[in-house]
């Protein structure tokens, strides 16, 4: 590999140029805010340009290896704006820019329905700030600058969440999001402060070296604080509560970015902290992450099943997929803590691969959802139906996304779940019986999760796109504009490609992982080539191209054969069999009905709420119901059992504290006297 070819692209100057384009996009769209069309055009074109630069920078950086760090001191003490784009950072920059590219192309058409309703210039400003701050988050190498850009990212995304501010639900979602992310950041700050205490520096490079002498307890505390802090951003259960309401509130291309990549910055930092800054880790770290991952995955998908709001449902799937990624990270931590370096490297590939995969297919799904929503003006999937006829291409892209997220071969979701499974299998054999069990249970959780995810996406796709339209909105929907379809097509192609070229991609990821795991060698991972992925000890072998091609070949040959054999048969189009009644859209299965059986089975965990409304033909007789209405909802267990009591406790405390301000001036002077005497007695005894 002639590395110097990429020197120009993988240079700090190029990186800064990328950021400057985003800055220009942000300021430009703010300046153009009086003209919707121009602001939209400017902001999307700038974002596309910036993303292309970002993608090329990241690719070049990945191919070239490490970029020399570049640091510039600021006038603030301890704060330096230092960037260090190692391969892990480059990978995340790539993911961010790739998704941002497709989302921006999509936005070209999507922004149209905001014209004259909301301020496009502001949207452009925050959109650019958001992307730029995400890129900074994954490249910055100083804890203070990191915290600043991290907060800027939260801030920008907060404004994007409340962008459609005339809906008070969005404001509430934004508040919840900002509160949760701020509390999460408090934990992050705590973690970094502890690191500062141990090392006396906020530079990552100094922390990395300095923490070697820190006590295991301190490291454990830092790890837990980081897990909670970054877990909040990533949407880990039980600190996920902001996610299902915040992601749907934002404009769809922003939801795609938030779900696709923003929550991954939490994953990035978790990897950075637990594998780069903190090691050596301990076994219980891995186990904790595994448990958190299993819970998130399983509960996330169950909540998604009981959801009828399309974007909310997708948001819950983000929680599920974060859980799967966490499983991979948990394995990595457990392996690296016990010296199984090769296995750790392998597991990290699984986590990273799923991170990228989820970024692509979840962004794809959100973009699809955005297309559907802007066509029908509702987020309730019960009001869709039959849209595969009105929006065939959107449907195809959405189907690809659905199949990918359901981990169906030969798409990319399958491969990363396969990797995660394999890591867990290795975990189930590498430890003593006691420590094996978490792995076995996690395998079960993952198996159940992927099955349920498939069920859920049958529900989503079936109810949204198939059968007959259930509302006039769905019946009169129009296919999305060209640019929106382009955005989705881009992501769909990436999703297919990531499945097909699993070997080479894994090799790149293996290199990244090996850089992070001390003693991890990319060479010891076994074959990772275009055709097969296999372990050195032949524990596993798989060939994604073979799966893909055999399915393709079998289908083509089969169709040809059948076509040749049955050319003479006629095909007649007729109404669906209706048992002699008039078949109306109301007789189709609804999303509620579809998920009902699963929800009933898991009602112990899900605690669904049910609201029935029966109307009788004869209210005295009550035997012949005229109409029965069942609304299945999901009872939130986190609010009433954790957050609500916490809030009440704080309110109670606040009310008690309020008594200090009693309004009586005599009491106020008494405070002064008592403080004086108290202090005198305490200090001068």
């Amino acid at each position: 590999m002639q590395n110097h070819q990429f020197d120009l692209i993988a240079s700090p100057g190029f990186f800064i140029a990328t950021l400057l384009i985003y800055a220009g996009g942000a300021i430009g769209s703010l300046l153009l805010q009086n003209n919707d069309r121009r602001a939209a055009l400017w902001s999307t074109l700038a974002a596309i340009a910036g993303s292309i630069l970002g993608v090329s920078f990241a690719v070049a950086a990945l191919l070239r290896g490490i970029i020399p760090a570049f640091t510039s001191e600021s006038t603030f003490p301890l704060l330096s704006t230092s960037f260090y784009v190692d391969s892990l950072s480059a990978l995340f920059v790539l993911a961010i820019c790739l998704v941002a590219l497709c989302c921006s192309i999509y936005a070209l058409g999507y922004l149209r329905h905001y014209y004259a309703k909301y301020n496009i210039g502001l949207l452009g400003f925050f959109y650019h700030a958001f992307i730029a701050s995400m890129i900074l988050v994954v490249t910055v190498h100083n804890a203070l600058s990191f915290l600043i850009v991290w907060e800027l990212m939260s801030l920008a995304s907060f404004f994007l969440v409340i962008y459609e501010h005339r809906d008070s639900a969005n404001i509430r979602a934004g508040i919840l999001y900002f509160v949760m992310t701020h509390v999460g950041t408090a934990f992050v700050i705590f973690a970094f402060l502890l690191m500062y205490q141990a090392t006396g520096s906020f530079e990552f490079s100094a922390i990395r070296v300095g923490l070697d002498y820190a006590s295991p307890i301190l490291r454990g505390v830092i790890f837990l604080a980081a897990l909670i802090g970054f877990g909040t951003k990533a949407g880990m259960i039980p600190v996920h509560i902001w996610l299902p309401s915040a992601h749907p509130a934002a404009p769809s291309h922003v939801s795609a970015l938030m779900s696709g990549v923003m929550i991954k910055t939490g994953i990035y930092m978790l990897i950075r902290v637990s594998l780069d800054l903190l090691p050596p880790g301990e076994l219980w770290w891995g186990m904790t992450v595994l448990v958190a991952g299993s819970l998130s995955a399983l509960l996330g998908v169950l909540y998604a099943l009981s959801e009828h709001d399309l974007k909310k449902l997708l948001a819950y799937h983000s929680i599920e997929n974060i859980g799967i990624i966490l499983m991979g990270i948990g394995c990595t931590l457990a392996f690296s803590a016990t010296g199984h370096n090769t296995l750790a490297t392998f597991s990290l590939i699984a986590a990273l691969y799923h991170t990228i995969n989820h970024a692509t297919f979840k962004a794809l799904l959100f973009l699809g959802a955005g297309a559907v929503i802007s066509a029908t003006q509702t987020r309730n999937i019960e009001h869709y139906g039959g849209m595969i006829k009105t929006m065939p291409q959107t449907a195809l892209f959405f189907l690809i996304g659905s199949m990918a997220i359901s981990a169906l071969p030969p798409l990319n979701g399958f491969f990363s779940e396969w990797l995660t499974f394999q890591s867990l299998f290795r975990g189930a054999t590498s430890f003593d019986a006691f420590h094996d069990f978490p792995f076995i249970l996690t395998i079960g959780a993952l198996a159940l999760t992927s099955g349920l995810a498939a069920a859920c996406f049958v529900k989503v796709f079936g109810v949204t796109f198939l059968a007959r339209p259930r509302s006039t909105g769905a019946a009169q929907a129009k296919e999305a504009p060209f640019s929106m379809r382009m955005g989705m097509a881009g992501l769909a192609i990436i999703a297919i490609a990531l499945g097909l070229f699993a070997g080479p991609v894994s090799r790149v990821l293996g290199q990244i992982s090996a850089n992070l795991i001390p003693g991890g060698k990319a060479e010891s991972l076994g074959e990772l080539n275009l055709i097969t992925v296999s372990s050195p000890d032949k524990f596993y072998t798989i060939s994604m191209p073979a799966v893909f091609l055999s399915l393709l070949a079998a289908s083509i040959i089969l169709s040809l054969l059948v076509f040749l054999m049955t050319r003479s048969r006629r095909v007649r189009i007729a109404p669906t069999w209706d048992c002699g009644t008039d078949l109306t859209p109301r007789m189709e299965i609804t999303a509620t009905g579809f998920a009902r059986s699963i929800i009933t089975i898991f009602k112990g965990v899900l605690r669904p709420s049910r609201q029935t409304d029966i109307e009788y033909h004869d209210s005295r007789l009550r035997y012949f119901p005229k109409m029965e209405k069942v609304i299945l909802g999901q009872r939130d267990i986190y609010q009433p059992y954790f957050y609500q009591p916490l809030r009440e406790l704080i309110s109670k405390l606040a009310i008690q504290v309020k008594r200090i301000q009693s309004g009586k001036i005599n009491a106020y002077v008494l405070y002064i006297l008592l403080t004086l005497l108290g202090l005198l007695i305490y200090f001068l005894r």
């Binding site: 301000q661 009693s662 309004g663 002077v669 002064i672 005198l680 007695i681 001068l684």
Partner: protein
């Protein structure tokens, strides 16, 4: 220093102290002002005597200003306030008299405690008892502000507190430059005017001088 004999100092600080206690005991506003005048008179004579040593024009001005403010202007304002609003008996307290006295006893006991000892080293006359009395005056005056519900009594409490501090300073032998003394006196003068204006405004707005009526801001 020669002009202040320990005996004289003792007599005067005792007067200050006693009038502070009497401020607690009285039920009539006019007599409270009267006790304050007595207290101020004691302080003023202390100031006058202390300044004999290094008499100067500026010092003379500052002392006469102090005397004027404390002995004449303040009572004048207060009596006018009482007269205008007929405030004979509005002196009410949180604690009744025995309990107030008990609280005062506790405060005086505190002043005798060990931790206050280092302060007593400040004395130049060698009589720690005098400093003790001044400290007690300070605390008792503070307690007066806490205990009383009347605006006038609170004002008197603050002034009495100031007197206590001055008596402490004088008995510890601290002196300020006359210029600064003038500034302080001017401050107190303005303070008395403002406070009187306020209390009469309060009377107009709230119909009484009872500060417990001022309880709307409670958040």
């Amino acid at each position: 220093m020669t002009f202040i004999t320990p005996q004289l100092l003792l007599v005067l600080t005792t007067t200050v102290f006693t009038s502070a206690i009497l401020l607690h005991l009285t039920k009539k506003n006019s007599s409270a002002v009267f006790y304050y005048v007595i207290q101020s008179a004691a302080i003023s004579s202390l100031l006058v005597i202390a300044s004999f040593e290094r008499i100067s024009i500026l010092l003379l001005i500052s002392i006469s200003a102090t005397v004027a403010v404390k002995l004449f202007i303040a009572p004048f304002f207060f009596f006018r306030l009482i007269k205008r609003h007929q405030l004979k008996f509005t002196v009410s307290t949180y604690l009744n008299t025995p309990l107030s006295l008990a609280a005062i006893a506790v405060l005086i006991a505190l002043v005798q405690a060990d931790f206050i000892k280092p302060l007593l080293l400040l004395t130049t006359s060698g009589q720690t008892f005098i400093l003790n009395l001044s400290l007690s005056t300070i605390l008792i005056s503070l307690f007066l502000i806490i205990n009383r519900k009347g605006a006038l009594s609170q004002m008197l409490g603050i002034l009495s507190l100031e007197n206590g501090i001055v008596s402490f300073a004088l008995s510890a032998g601290l002196e300020q430059s006359p210029g600064l003394q003038l500034g302080i006196t001017f401050n107190i003068f303005v303070w008395i005017i403002i406070a009187t204006v306020f209390s009469s405004m309060i009377f107009r707005k709230f119909g009484s001088m009872d500060v417990t009526a001022l309880n709307r801001l409670t958040e």
